[in-house]
């Protein structure tokens, strides 16, 4: 009978983390930030059908980077969790914090117990009635939850994009200003990104019930050229 080689747990975790990180860095980046009337989510995504940004509930949205099939599976689990919770209790009782914790548990479980970690970074955001109540939860492949203030960047060369967003971000900016800053940060100094390469959606603070709204490419082109 052959014995498996001993591998130190530190090494196992490091290998898995490296594997997941490599998969996530291979894709393009996504920026989430608050603006005066809500939360803006902006991703570099040439596909109009395979969304990185989606609606979860009345005031909650989801964004994912990395392997599409994996974050889409997480997105659907989130919609199910939120709809079941709203049905059992009340629509007001569905919140992003509990959803983020659920995601963290699930990702943590998969990271430690499965052969392959999920190659995803996800963002769960909730728009408040007032700007101070806006919430951005960034959840990593290993289940680490980061409660972000104002803005966050996921995927691709996240560190470089984050530095660019940090340099240009203004709290309480109007939508078109925030959008242009986000697109500029995604593109960097050497490229320009057009409406055809972007996926943009907002959580509109003042909407009656469902706050999530996709911005069509036609509207996007207009917002970018103003």
């Amino acid at each position: 009978m052959s014995m498996p080689f001993y591998v130190a747990p530190e090494q196992v975790m490091k290998d898995r983390a490296d594997y997941a990180r490599k998969g996530i860095a291979r894709g393009r980046s996504l920026v989430g930030c608050t603006y005066d009337d809500g939360i803006l989510l902006c991703a570099e995504n040439p596909s109009q059908m395979l969304h990185k940004i989606s609606e979860i509930y009345d005031r909650i949205a989801f964004a994912g980077v990395g392997k599409y099939s994996e974050f889409d599976q997480l997105r659907i689990a989130g919609v199910r969790h939120a709809d079941l919770k709203g049905y059992s209790f009340s629509r007001e009782d569905v919140d992003a914090r509990s959803l983020a914790n659920q995601y963290a548990q699930m990702l943590g479980q998969i990271f430690t117990h499965e052969m392959k970690p999920m190659e995803v970074d996800i963002l769960v955001v909730e728009v408040g009635r007032k700007p101070v109540d806006d919430q951005l939860f960034h959840i990593q492949y290993d289940g680490l939850v980061i409660d972000e203030a104002d803005f966050t960047v996921l995927g691709g060369d996240a560190d470089a994009v984050r530095d660019r967003v940090a340099a240009s971000y203004e709290p309480g900016a109007a939508l078109d200003v925030a959008l242009r800053a986000a697109v500029q940060a995604l593109a960097g100094s050497e490229r320009t990104l057009g409406a055809g390469e972007l996926e943009v959606a907002v959580l509109d603070r003042n909407a009656r019930r469902r706050c999530f709204r996709r911005i069509s490419r036609a509207d996007l082109a207009e917002l970018l050229t103003d």
Binding site: I76, A77, H81, D83, L84, K85, S88
Partner: protein, 264 residues
């Protein structure tokens, strides 16, 4: 509440009702063996839907009765199902309101999971399946008989569907009614309906139909001018589901009463 996660072969897809069956026990209403005394629970009554030039008008009175008691004066029986459709209910109020809640959620859940909206016919079929699921309760006396109406964005036209307790789904061309006052309401609509009516004419007709139903049927409530309770009336057009405000309804009832005074 744990996050629901399914293996690929076992996934319930965009069906919320199926998801609910997988995650929670069945409701007690489906496990009853003897009929419940109908005076012990509330019944909702008359609803009318009429097709007109721009779409559909739906309306329902506000009375709920338990036997010969008026159990509620302000019950609502007309609801938006989603942006471009609405549902009006008659029958046992508890299961009916619950069915509407589940139906609204089913449509929204499908839209979010799939990323696209169900066709109007697809929505009507979903409601039909829910009514069929309620058949054991219907045989105990707790029937739910809704009307489903919506604006079909593909055809650019309003459409109406009526149902029976077995989940049978029947599309109506011009108008339909449900509930205990349906006979009187339908007669009024039938005698006065004409093709391509305007919004104003249709709303006045629907109010007249409810007025006459309330006049003949004790379970249907008329406008309550003292408490300022009026029927729920909504239009469903290319602009979506829009509920009429009470000021407009008060004004229309005032002129209806004037007309009735003048002719009698």
């Amino acid at each position: 509440m744990a996050m629901p996660f399914f293996s690929p072969g076992d996934d319930p897809g965009p069906d919320f009702a199926e998801l609910l069956r997988r995650t929670s026990p069945p409701s007690p209403a489906t496990q009853l063996s003897t009929p419940i005394d109908p005076t012990l629970y509330a019944h909702g009554t008359t609803c009318v839907a009429i097709r007109y030039a721009d779409g559909v008008v739906m309306a329902g009175d506000r009375r709920a009765t338990s036997g010969n008691w008026i159990s509620n004066r302000r019950i609502e029986k007309v609801f938006p199902a989603d942006r471009y459709s609405g549902v009006a209910i008659a029958g046992a109020a508890g299961p009916a309101v619950e069915m509407v809640r589940l139906f609204q959620l089913q449509l929204e859940h499908y839209e979010k999971v799939e990323g696209s909206v169900l066709s109007l016919e697809g929505k009507a079929n979903q409601l039909s399946q829910m009514i069929r699921g309620n058949l054991p309760a219907a045989l105990q006396g707790m029937a739910v008989v809704p009307i489903f109406a919506g604006y079909d964005l593909n055809r650019g036209d309003g459409r109406l569907f009526q149902f029976d307790i077995t989940g049978g789904r029947y599309e109506e061309a011009d108008h339909t009614a449900t509930g205990s006052g349906q006979l009187h309401a339908s007669t009024v609509v039938k005698l006065n309906w004409k093709p391509e009516m305007t919004r104003d004419e249709t709303v006045d007709l629907v109010l007249r139909a409810l007025w006459e139903a309330a006049d003949e049927d004790s379970a249907t409530g008329g406008p309550d001018l003292i408490r300022k309770i009026y029927p729920i009336v909504a239009t469903i057009t290319a602009e979506g589901f829009v509920q009429l405000d009470d000021d407009e309804l008060a004004e229309r009832f005032r002129s209806l009463i004037e007309r009735l005074n003048g002719s009698e």
